[in-house]
Every structure is written in structure tokens, then in C-alpha cells.
Symmetry: C2
Subunit: 148 residues, 2 copies
DNA sequence: CTCTGTGCAAACACTTTGCAGCTAA
DNA sequence: TTAGCTGCAAAGTGTTTGCACAGAG
């Protein structure tokens, strides 16, 4: 059964998660479990607030900060990650030449990358069929020469 | 001379910009010119605040909002653009399978894209030589099926 | 029992809005 | 002249911090 398999998969992920917490010296609290579960049972790439809403349904007393802090913790121990580029101040670019971006996750610097082969990335049909794609780019994250 | 060429290029861009403003029914004010110039003479993908600092040097009385509003205006008329993903609340993902993201610029929804050929994007040597690249992804923006 | 995690509240940072006076066309 | 722009101030939204109590190990 599909549903069964999903449950197995979720249980598996939660086990892995628990192990990862223990390894990182983090206690396994009901809140953390609830937040983690909320995160792996959605595909909507939620914001802190969305997770808060979701967890609040079976956990009415949880506080917003706990959710926020917990998500940041998950990010640190590698149990979740921040969607590329999100959560930062708005930044502008006036260079319309085709190029790509590399962002340093420490100093937040954004470096232009000019790499020919990426200039003609094709939009997958599954997307092109439903959505109107206006921009496409190859995006890199990591530590820059000065921060690594 | 390189410097001469640069000046020519900048003058050219400012002319284009002026035309674009006129076409969009926007007045060409000293502030707008200063902000635009600040934007095209840097490669640092500045935030509003960075532009504000920069413009403030030769334009001490400009206000922060003017800079902010002007940059948003530039984005609307296509004289500049917001760096992909920036300027939004932080969002999380717990799916570590290799996949790409499409973001709807209207409803902000993020949709997963699973497209095999993108799974092994190579990091350009120019980057790999200097930086430590931890994540690489192909990123799309536009209007989703519901918003277009 | 101990020490980390949680909840609360206040502080912050960034962005947006409303309005009155100013200015480019 | 006049519609649109700028500067100021206040409000809004999302995030971070400090601390006391509670609960996991």
C-alpha cells in the first residue's frame, strides 16, 4: 500500500533524525519531533510562520520562537536547509548580461559567474507546460575565497 | 583607453535608462540618476542600504525611502532586477533528494522540479578554484499555473 | 538531579505607507 | 502649471535575544 510505505518512510526519517539529534547532543523533545514531522510531510517549503500554523494544530501551546529556533537548529545539524537565497534582505542587480550567481553563506557576498554552458539552460517540459518561466539561473552557495 | 570605454558604456546605459523612464512616464530626477549610476558602477549586488550609503556620498540629503522606492521602481520598469530569491522570508526544506526549485513571483509558492539532467551540474573551474561550493541548483522564477 | 530547551516579552532590522511640500517637464 | 517625486515619520512584518521555569536524559 502506498500509505503504508509512506508511513514507513516517515518513520525511517524520524529515526534518522533522532539519531542525528543525539549525535549533535540535542535532546529529543516533543516540539522538535512535531516540527520535524510537519516539515517532512509537506512539499510547500514552508516559512517559519507556516510551520508554526501547522504544528499549532496538534500542539496549541507551542510558541513561535520555539518553531523559529528549532528550524534554525535543524538547519545547523543538517536535518533541514534554508531554501536558497531566502531569508535575506532584498538585493539588486542592473547587469542584464546572462550570468549566474554564487553566494557566500558567511559574508553574504554575491559573486557573478560567467559560464557559457549555463547560458542556454532549457526549461524542463513539465514546468514549461504549466508555468510561465521568466527567469532561469544556475545558483551556487558556499564559502568564498576569503571566508573558507 | 579602458577608462574612456567604460565612460562611454556608462553614458550609453544612462541614455537607455533615461529613454526607458520617459517611455514609462517617469520623470528623470537627479536622485534617480544617482541611484541608477550607483547601481551600474558596482558588481556587489547591493541591498537598499548599500545603495543608500553609496548615493549618500554625493547626495547627502537623499532619504532611505527614496532609494528603496526608486529601486523597486527600477525593478518594475526593467531597469534593474531583484536578485533571485532575495528579499523574502526564510523558507525551509527537508527534502534532500536532488531537485530544483521554481518560484512563483506572484503567490510566492515554491514548486519542486525533478529534472535529471540538472542533477549533475558542474561547478565552473573559475569558481571551484577559489570558493568552496556547497550547494548548486538550477532556479526558475515566473508565474505558476494558477497565477499566470 | 542537572543542564538544555521552551515560552514569554521586549528589542531589532528591514520594509511599507500616508502625507505635505517640492520640482521636472 | 501640475502630476508625479521626495523626505519625513509612523506603522507593519519578520527575526533575534534574555531570562526564568519546566522537562528530557
Amino acid at each position: 500500500m502506498v500509505v503504508e510505505n509512506e508511513n514507513v518512510e516517515i518513520r525511517q526519517k524520524i529515526d534518522d533524525f533522532s539519531a542525528r539529534c543525539r549525535q549533535a547532543g540535542l535532546k529529543i523533545t516533543p516540539q522538535r519531533l512535531a516540527i520535524y514531522k510537519a516539515l517532512i510531510t509537506t512539499t510547500e517549503h514552508p516559512s517559519t510562520d507556516m510551520v508554526y500554523q501547522r504544528v499549532g494544530k496538534d500542539f496549541p501551546n507551542i510558541s513561535f520562537d520555539t518553531v523559529n529556533r528549532t528550524l534554525l537548529t535543524f538547519n545547523q545539524i543538517g536535518a533541514a536547509f534554508v531554501v536558497e537565497g531566502s531569508g535575506e534582505v532584498r538585493r539588486f542587480d542592473a547587469n542584464f548580461e546572462c550570468h549566474q550567481h554564487f553566494k557566500c553563506i558567511k559574508c553574504k557576498r554575491i559573486i557573478d559567474v560567467f559560464h557559457e554552458p549555463f547560458n542556454d539552460v532549457q526549461v524542463p517540459v513539465e514546468l514549461a507546460g504549466n508555468c510561465e518561466v521568466l527567469r532561469k539561473t544556475v545558483y551556487f552557495e558556499g564559502y568564498c575565497d576569503e571566508c573558507k
